[in-house]
């Protein structure tokens, strides 16, 4: 199945049709998407500020990371689930042709890969403290990808 066919198929499903025909479904889902985003970005920003050495130095990186993880992943799950519904409701032609959608997905993928690999390794006990330059580099990359995803996400609606 080609990419375009997948987008077209998504928009033809009964769920998509239901969402398109409902007056309140889209705004409600989008609001929850935004709440999920805040729930995800909040802990992520706090963690990255700590990696930059610019906040919450009373706690070690590993302790902070452990503490933010459940909130971060709950926020991610909420954002992804609602994001999938938003995608289904307007995949074709809107998102397929939208100039901001693919950059957003690129940012999300890059941020996620970073979070699960390099960033995860650095949040193990003592690692970030032993490698402050790496910790800063990861934090800057992470903030760039996720804020990039936020900006591109908001831009979808304005295209």
């Amino acid at each position: 199945m080609s990419l375009q066919a997948f987008y077209e198929w998504s928009t033809a499903t009964w769920l998509s049709v239901f969402l398109q025909n409902s007056q309140y479904a889209f705004p409600l889902i989008e609001v929850v998407h935004l709440v999920g985003l805040t729930m995800f970005l909040g802990p992520l920003v706090v963690l990255n500020l700590r990696l930059l050495g610019m906040g919450l130095r009373a706690a070690s990186v590993s302790e902070l990371s452990e503490s933010v993880s459940p909130w971060l992943w709950a926020g991610f799950a909420l954002t992804t689930a609602t994001g999938a519904l938003l995608f289904i409701s307007e995949a074709f032609p809107k998102l397929y042709e939208n100039g901001a959608w693919r950059p957003k997905m690129f940012c999300v993928a890059a941020g996620l890969i970073l979070l699960l690999t390099w960033q995860r390794r650095l949040t193990k006990a003592g690692r970030a403290e032993a490698n402050p330059v790496q910790a800063k580099a990861v934090a800057i990359l992470s903030l760039t990808f996720w804020f990039g995803a936020g900006v591109a996400g908001r831009a979808i609606g304005f295209m």
């Binding site: 920003v45 706090v46 302790e63 933010v68 909130w71």
Partner: protein, 162 residues
């Protein structure tokens, strides 16, 4: 002068017209508004979670509050400024939208909640801030803040649909 006529005056100013009619200005300001949310609300939410005992239990409350405060304030300043500009670009629409009125009420209550926390139970934080189980006024402040901020996000996004 009534609130409505004040808003009509605001809407007729050059700044209001410029933001409203520019293709780039409004989205850029709104983008800043949404992203500053992560900074202000993200750090506030974290303090709330600490007060509720749902995160960072081993770090003293005053350490969490004080070290995140500069970011909360910076984020909030950015929110207030960008939000003010967004309001200025369409004040009449805003004050006649129920979601916006609820949002402003919620923010006012949040302000009072924050003040009563800081000038109330927080003054004795040295006595209870180390503990995992916090006094109920502190927990209540955290719960009110968390619930109302979610309402603010909700009604804020909802305002834009009208």
């Amino acid at each position: 002068m009534s609130l409505l006529s004040m808003c009509e005056h605001a809407e007729a100013t050059a700044l209001s017209v410029a933001i409203r009619e520019s293709t780039l200005l409004f989205p850029v300001i709104e983008g800043v508004h949404v992203l500053a949310l992560a900074l202000s609300l993200g750090t506030i939410m974290f303090v709330d979670l600490r007060l509720l005992g749902w995160a960072m239990r081993r770090t003293p409350v005053d350490a969490v509050v004080e070290q995140l405060q500069p970011w909360t304030i910076a984020g909030f300043a950015l929110m207030f400024l960008s939000g003010g500009l967004l309001f200025w670009s369409e004040p009449v629409k805003c004050i006649t939208t129920p979601a916006f009125i609820i949002k402003m009420l919620a923010i006012a209550i949040l302000g009072l909640n924050m003040l009563s926390f800081h000038f109330g139970i927080y003054r004795t934080v040295a006595q209870w801030g180390q503990g995992e189980l916090l006094p109920s006024p502190a927990k209540r402040a955290g719960a009110v803040s968390l619930a109302l901020w979610v309402l603010v996000v909700f009604t804020g996004r909802w305002t834009a649909y009208f």
